[in-house]
Structures are given as structure tokens and as C-alpha cells.
């Protein structure tokens, strides 16, 4: 048995260390370890509750807006605020634009380099002027002896795409996607003030009273995104997923937990009944039985986390967050969230399996794709297309609201913090189900907890010793060459990890890998 440590695992958000045991060319055990702790939740205690939307927004600068959004929903409930339609739709547009930013960026800039033999570009023999320009660019970088940051890298393997035409096209799209992600942030900023780290979303609604020019500017930029997502992004994912990567897709490498959850998100009515992303839970892979979610069944374990056992219970409203660096047997400060005691996968694959849109289910069935790394990319791309199309109807709804005499964006009557209150903001953000939980006492924050998508997916073992979803997904992953653990990073990155979000993290010990094994 050989131990492989990958640290830092790059092209993710935050700091992540992966340790796996490999036997006979396959992973037999895995630990995922976050290596940073900022302590933002604890810092919020005792502060003006309205600060929470601004401060938690800064938890993550990639899924910018997500935490501010979830926080505002938790505060809305605690304050008793009812967000007017204008505020609700503008919030949705701000975050929707960031989905269009996050998903292609994840595919092209964070993941694609794991699947492409980028140097194959030099072999391109075609005559397409666009592709020739890409070839020229890469060849000149090579000639100048400076290919950073595209190298150094893991060696391409049997799953890597090596066809010069396909690779050259993909590199061209990598460059195009760089421009599109900047434009998506610009769209979001039209309503949000700026991106990353919008400032428009506050308790009770938003601060930006729009005019029609801003709405139409957003619409014209949305058209450009639709074109890119439909004809380039989704097309590329399908070309690769049903082409060179089909063996990886059909064997379901990186499958993981059979339990999936989505809180539902993007309300299209004020009552919150008509959600774009459906809410529900799948247990044991049974796609024909989607059950309703009960917030009370969410708990967090800390047996293997560098955390003091909470004296105040395990639910997000009550639990403590007190680091304990000396705790025996612990290996990470990611807490272990469980639903009804189960580890749960959240994110685009969970959302699509719960929503079951026909186009997506048809692709899965036609190519016999199993849940795993490739399926996650496909789900992510497919939901981006569904979302960008739906966003046009949100703009229509906003314009209709703007035409009414009492167009409102904010519940000004509930701006001051109440003496007491509590609330949960549970929604879907690019990486999955996000929950913010607040308790207010004496007009101040008494407790604040975030249970974030990456905490669900990158959870450690729970109190019963059951591995978290990614730890499960790594079991059985082929590592034919111990010097080149490329499949491991493919599986890990398919979850789009955001370790700065999963902020209960800490790397406990030292360089000494052996020490990690004591007490496991």
C-alpha cells in the first residue's frame, strides 16, 4: 500500500490537501483535508445583524454574491421582512449572472487542463483561421520558453484528449471563456454595484433601484451569454463527455455518495412556491422517490474535526465553532454535515437528478453515463443552459413590475434589527445547497452558522466513522502510475471545491504524513 499526498490541490478555490492510499493501482482509502481557518462565524457574534450580508459575502470571491444572498434570506426571516417582487427578482438576476460566470469558468479554467494534452496544439494541421491563430499563440509561447501557467503539469494519460483539432478548439474556447466570465461579472455588477463582492443585496431586498436602460443592457449581455453557453460550453462538454471521455463517464469514476439533495432556489413568486431549481432529497440512488426536505434533520458532527464537541447541540442554530488544535483522532476542521445521519452530495448533479429535465436524462440514458466526474460536468453545463434561458423570463417579470405604480425593491419597514429572532436562508448556489442560520438576541447576532456546499461534499468522517461524499468518491479511482495521480484531481475537481467557503477548516499537524495515520 502506498500513500499519495497532493498538497496544494490547485485550480480550486481555497487550500486543499488530499491523502489517498493506493493498492493494486486503485485508491483504497482517502482523506480530504482543508488547510485554512478564518473564523468568520465566531467573529460575527455580538455584531449588528445587518453586517452579516456584507461580511459573509466575503467568504468566497468565486461564487461571489452567493453568501450575501443566503445571508439576506436568513436575515429576512429573522427580521420578519417580506422582500418585494422587485427586490426578489433583482437578487435572482445578480446571482443568476454569477452562475453563468462560475460554471464555464469551472469547466475551462479549473478543469479542462486535466483532460487536454495541451501540447497537441502544435500538431494541428487544419486551415481554420481561428484555430491557426490559437496554434500560433501556443507555439510562440513554447518558442519563447515560457508556457507558465500551462506547465508544469501531470502527464496526459489514456483518458486525455490528444486529437490536435479538438485540443486546439478547446484552447481557443479557454481563451474565449476568459472573456465571457469577465462579461458575466459585468452583467451582475449592473445591479450589484460590483463583482466580485456585490453590495446591493441587504436584508429586506436590494439597494439598486434600476431604470429600463440597465435592464436592457443586462438583456443584451444575456443574449451573448446564451449564445456562448448553448453553442460552445454545452457543446464542448457533450463532445468530450460522449467522445474521448465516454469510458470515464460509463464506468462512473468518482461516483461517491448515492444520496443527493437540493434546497431549491430562484423563487419566481413571492410565496417561494415556484422555484427554478426544485427542492428535494434522493436517498440510496432511488431517482423515482424524491422526498421533501426537513430542515430539522440537518446536523453537524465534529468527531474527526479539530473542533470542541459543541455543548449546545448539533443543529446549525445552536452549535458552537470553537477550534481545538490538540484533539486526538481529528484530521480536518471541516465539520461533517449530515442529513438524517447520511452524507449527502450537493451541487449540479444533485440538482439535475432531482429536477430530471428530459434533455439531460435522455443524454444520461442514451450514453449510459453513470454518476461520477463526467456526469457532474454534464449536469453543470446542462443546468447553465436551462438557467440562462429562464433568466429572460425574469427580466420580463422585472420590467412588468417596474411598470406598476408601487414598484418596490426593499422592505424599509423591517430595516432595523429586531430584539429577538431567528431564521434560515437555504438556497442553491453554483456549488450546491447553501444554508445560513442566524439567531438574534438583544438586536445583535447571538449565533451565526453557515453550512456550505463544500462542507457537505468535502466532509470528513462522521461520528459513526462514515466517510464524506468525496472521500467515498475517491475509493476505487484508478491510479495506474503512482507518479501521475491525474484521476484523483479529476474526481476532486469535478465537485468544484470551494475550501474558503468550508471555513471550519484547518490543517492540524505537520509535514509528517505518518502522524496522520495515528488514531484513524
Amino acid at each position: 500500500m502506498t500513500k499519495i499526498v497532493i498538497d496544494p490541490l490547485t485550480r480550486i478555490e481555497g487550500h486543499l490537501r488530499i491523502e489517498v492510499e493506493v493498492e493494486n493501482g486503485k485508491v483504497v482509502d482517502a482523506h480530504v483535508i482543508g488547510t485554512m481557518y478564518r473564523g468568520i462565524e465566531a467573529m460575527l457574534r455580538g455584531r449588528d445583524p445587518r453586517d452579516a450580508t456584507y461580511v459573509t459575502e466575503r467568504v468566497c470571491g468565486v461564487c461571489a454574491g452567493s453568501h450575501g444572498w443566503a445571508s439576506s434570506m436568513a436575515l429576512d426571516k429573522a427580521f420578519g421582512a417580506s422582500v418585494p417582487a422587485g427586490g426578489r427578482i433583482i437578487r435572482n438576476l445578480i446571482i443568476g449572472a454569477m452562475f453563468l460566470h462560475d460554471h464555464p469558468l469551472h469547466f475551462y479554467h479549473l478543469s479542462a487542463l486535466d483532460y487536454l494534452d495541451i501540447m497537441a496544439v502544435a500538431q494541428y494541421q487544419g486551415k481554420d483561421p481561428g484555430l491557426l491563430a490559437v496554434k500560433e499563440k501556443v507555439v510562440k509561447l513554447v518558442a519563447a520558453g515560457d508556457t507558465a501557467p500551462l506547465t508544469p503539469r501531470y502527464k496526459p494519460d489514456e483518458f486525455s484528449v490528444t486529437d490536435p483539432e479538438l485540443v486546439t478548439m478547446a484552447v481557443g474556447h479557454y481563451l474565449k471563456a476568459l472573456e465571457m466570465q469577465a462579461k458575466a461579472k459585468k452583467m451582475s455588477a449592473l445591479f450589484a454595484g460590483k463583482q466580485p463582492h456585490q453590495s446591493s443585496i441587504v436584508v429586506g431586498g436590494v439597494t439598486m433601484l434600476p431604470n429600463i436602460e440597465v435592464v436592457e443592457h443586462f438583456r443584451s449581455m444575456l443574449l451573448e451569454q446564451l449564445d456562448f453557453i448553448e453553442k460552445t460550453y454545452l457543446q464542448d462538454v457533450l463532445t468530450f463527455g460522449t467522445g474521448p471521455l465516454l469510458p470515464l463517464a460509463q464506468t462512473g469514476v468518482g461516483g461517491g455518495s448515492p444520496h443527493y439533495m437540493s434546497y431549491g432556489g430562484f423563487a419566481r413568486d413571492n410565496a417561494g412556491k415556484d422555484l427554478f431549481f426544485k427542492s428535494g432529497l434522493i436517498a440510496d440512488g432511488n431517482l423515482s422517490n424524491i422526498v421533501a426536505i426537513d430542515e430539522k434533520k440537518i446536523t453537524e458532527d465534529v468527531q474527526y474535526s479539530w473542533y470542541k464537541a459543541s455543548a449546545n447541540g448539533k443543529t446549525p442554530y445552536t452549535e458552537d465553532t470553537i477550534p481545538d488544535l490538540a484533539k486526538q483522532g481529528a484530521y480536518t476542521f471541516v465539520k461533517a454535515p449530515r442529513y438524517d445521519g447520511k452524507p449527502i452530495e450537493v451541487g449540479p448533479l444533485a440538482r439535475m437528478l432531482i429536477m430530471q429535465p428530459k434533455g439531460f436524462m435522455d443524454i444520461i440514458a442514451k450514453y449510459n453515463i453513470k454518476p461520477g466526474a463526467v456526469a457532474r460536468h454534464a449536469a453543470r453545463a446542462y443546468e447553465t443552459l436551462l438557467l440562462v434561458k429562464d433568466m429572460f423570463t425574469w427580466l420580463d417579470a422585472l420590467e412588468k413590475e417596474m411598470g406598476s405604480k408601487d414598484f418596490r425593491i426593499h422592505d424599509t419597514d423591517h430595516w432595523e434589527a429586531p430584539a429577538t429572532g431567528q431564521g434560515a436562508g437555504m438556497t442553491e448556489v453554483p456549488r450546491g445547497a447553501l444554508g445560513h442560520f442566524i439567531k438574534v438576541a438583544g438586536h445583535k447576532i447571538e449565533n451565526y452558522q453557515m453550512v456550505v456546499p463544500t462542507t457537505w461534499n468535502f466532509s470528513p468522517r462522521d461520528d459513526l466513522g462514515v466517510r464524506g461524499p468525496v472521500e467515498q468518491a475517491l475509493i476505487g479511482v484508478p491510479v495506474p502510475d503512482l507518479e501521475n495521480p491525474i484521476n484523483i484531481v479529476r474526481v476532486v475537481r469535478s465537485y468544484d471545491p470551494c475550501l474558503a467557503c468550508a471555513i471550519h477548516l484547518i490543517n492540524p499537524v505537520t509535514n509528517d504524513v505518518q502522524k496522520f495515520q495515528i488514531g484513524w
Binding site: V5, D7, P8, L9, T10, R11, H15, R17, T35, Y37, R38, G39, M43, R47, D48, R50, D51, R58, V59, C60, G61, V62, P84, L110, L113, I118, E136, K137, D146, A148, P149, P152, R153, Y154, L178, E179, Q181, A182, K186, L190, F191, A192, G193, Q195, P196, H197, S199, S200, G205, V206, T207, M208, L209, L325, R408, H410, P485, A500, N507, P508
Partner: protein
Amino acid sequence: MGNFDLLKVKGVSRRDFMKLIAATTAALGLPELFVPQAANALEQALKKPPVIWLEGMDCTGCTESAIATLNPSPAELILDMLSIRYHETIMAGSGNKSEEAYQEALKEKYILIVEGAIPSKEDRFCMVGGKPFRKILIEAAQKAQAIIAIGSCASEGAGIPGACATGAVGVGEILKAEGISTPLINLPCCPVKPTTLIGTLLYYLTYQKVPALDSQKRPVAFYGTLLHDNCPRRGHFEHGEFLKDWNDPIQKQYCLLLKGCKGPKTYTDCAQVWWNDNTNFCINAGSPCSGCSEKSFYKEFSPLYAKQENFDIPGLGPINADTVGPVIGGAAAVGLGIHLVATVASGRLKKDHKEGL
């Protein structure tokens, strides 16, 4: 191969390049006379300077902000302008491959960009590659030709992490503690403004020296003016018109002081150079300034959304927001007194700030 040829093969046209230089030179307040010189110097520099980009206790928001630029494009920034040898979020390699790239880069004359804060109390709060981030930073800082600390977390005061119990500090505090004399430029804001970062890089590459800095080591070119003095809503402040209801189209452009705006204490060019390709900025979106370019952010500026009980403007003494009076909607001015106070305040402030530089 001449250096401009090298530029060309990287896909940068001379026209684009000159446009960028002209814009940057203007932003830095240099006469146009400097443009050809700057272009020339940059062509020389465009063997692409090696860059090591470290991330500590961060959220990757500054990286995301840097690639939010549209002019130059993000591809020009990360592939053409700079040779980014180490950057965890964009580099191909992981684990030993990224370590390999890092060790190679350390041998060169690199610029060090730092994003995120550094835990000063407990090294284990931020570990990379099994090593304390603090120690990685110290090694890289000693060998760098210059250091650019980007965003509030890496700058003095350490932004939001600075308010947490981890003892988070900015790069400057570490350099001071370790006696490291490598030139440091702080570019606070949450996240860093892409225009500020690119402008500073171009200036440094052009003149091979750090631009004029203020007492917080921020380039005066970008942080030399008080937001309040340049605020598009300043007229409403002086007329005592303060926003109370975000739904009211009449109040839409009113001053945000009662919503907690920190503009009167914040030095930044946000009002002149907007974000995301000049699309918007907090105040234009109706959001009070949080003061994120100041070392007092966030700890001393909380609560963010409450009117300042004591607005202690230097040289004037406290302005209590209550003395500003309640807003009665419409254009009701609440008194000539406030107008005068504000004018005096701005005059004094400018004077004091200049003296402080």
C-alpha cells in the same frame, strides 16, 4: 527577436498596447508626454516579468477581480503581460508539480503578489503544501524584487480576517516583524480594483520603481482623493438630502450617510473609476461605502449599515448624524449650517491629507 515582436506574437497589437498605456498614464496623472517613453520602457520590460502569486487566508476574490478586466482582456493580463509562474487558482500543476514550478520561480527576479491575510498567532490556521503560509511568505518576500499586497486582507489592517480571532495581519506587518526591506505596495479594497492592480504593475514595469505612496503604502495616484470629495451625491450631502427609503425614485441619488456610508473617511478612486469595466460602484448602486480601502476596515467601521453616531472628521471634531436632522423627503434642505460645516470639513480634510503624505 525585438521585444515588440515578442509582444505581437503574444497577440497584443501595438494600437491596443498604446491605448492601454495612454489610459494608465492618464490614471496615474502623468502628462501625455510620458506615453511614448512608457511604451518604450514597457516593450523593454516585456520579456514578461516572472510573477509569484501567493494566496493566504483569502477568498480568491482578488484573483477573480483581476480577471474581471476587459481592457486589457484577462487573457492579455495572465498570458501576455505577465509570466505567472505560481498561482494556485490558475496553474496547471498540483502537489509536487506546483512545488516544482514554485522552486524554479524562486530562482528568478520575480514580482511577488500576495492575496489574503497571514495568521500571526497560529501558523496552523493557514498551511500550504504542509508548510505554514507565514513561512512561505517570508521566504518569497526576502527574494522578491518588489511585493504588491492586493486587497484589504493582505494590506495593512487585514480587512475582515483582521477582525477575527486568528490574529490575521497584512504583509506589511510580517515584513516589519521579520525586518525585511523589500519594497511593498499595498492595494487595499475588497477585492482589489483591477484598474489599480494593472496600473500599478505597468508603472512599476515602466519605471522600475514603486510609485509615490501614502502613509498606508498605497499609491497616491489611486488613493490620493477622499471618496466624499468626489462623490456624485456630494451635492445632496451639502443640501442635507439623505436617502431613507430605497424604493423612492426621488431619493434614489441622495446621500447615503444615514445608511452608514464611510465615504467621508475613505480614500479611493471608486467615484472616478468605476468597477467592472466602468459599469457601476457601490454608491451608484445605492449601497453605502464600507471604507474597504482603509486600514480601519472592517473592525473599526462596524456596524456598516448604521448611521455613524460620531463622525469624527479630522480637523473638525465629531459630526453627529443626528445634527444633520431627519429627512423629510423631496428636496427639503435641513439647514444652511450643515452646508457650511460640510464645506469646511472638505477643505480641512484636503489640507490635512496632503500634510500626511
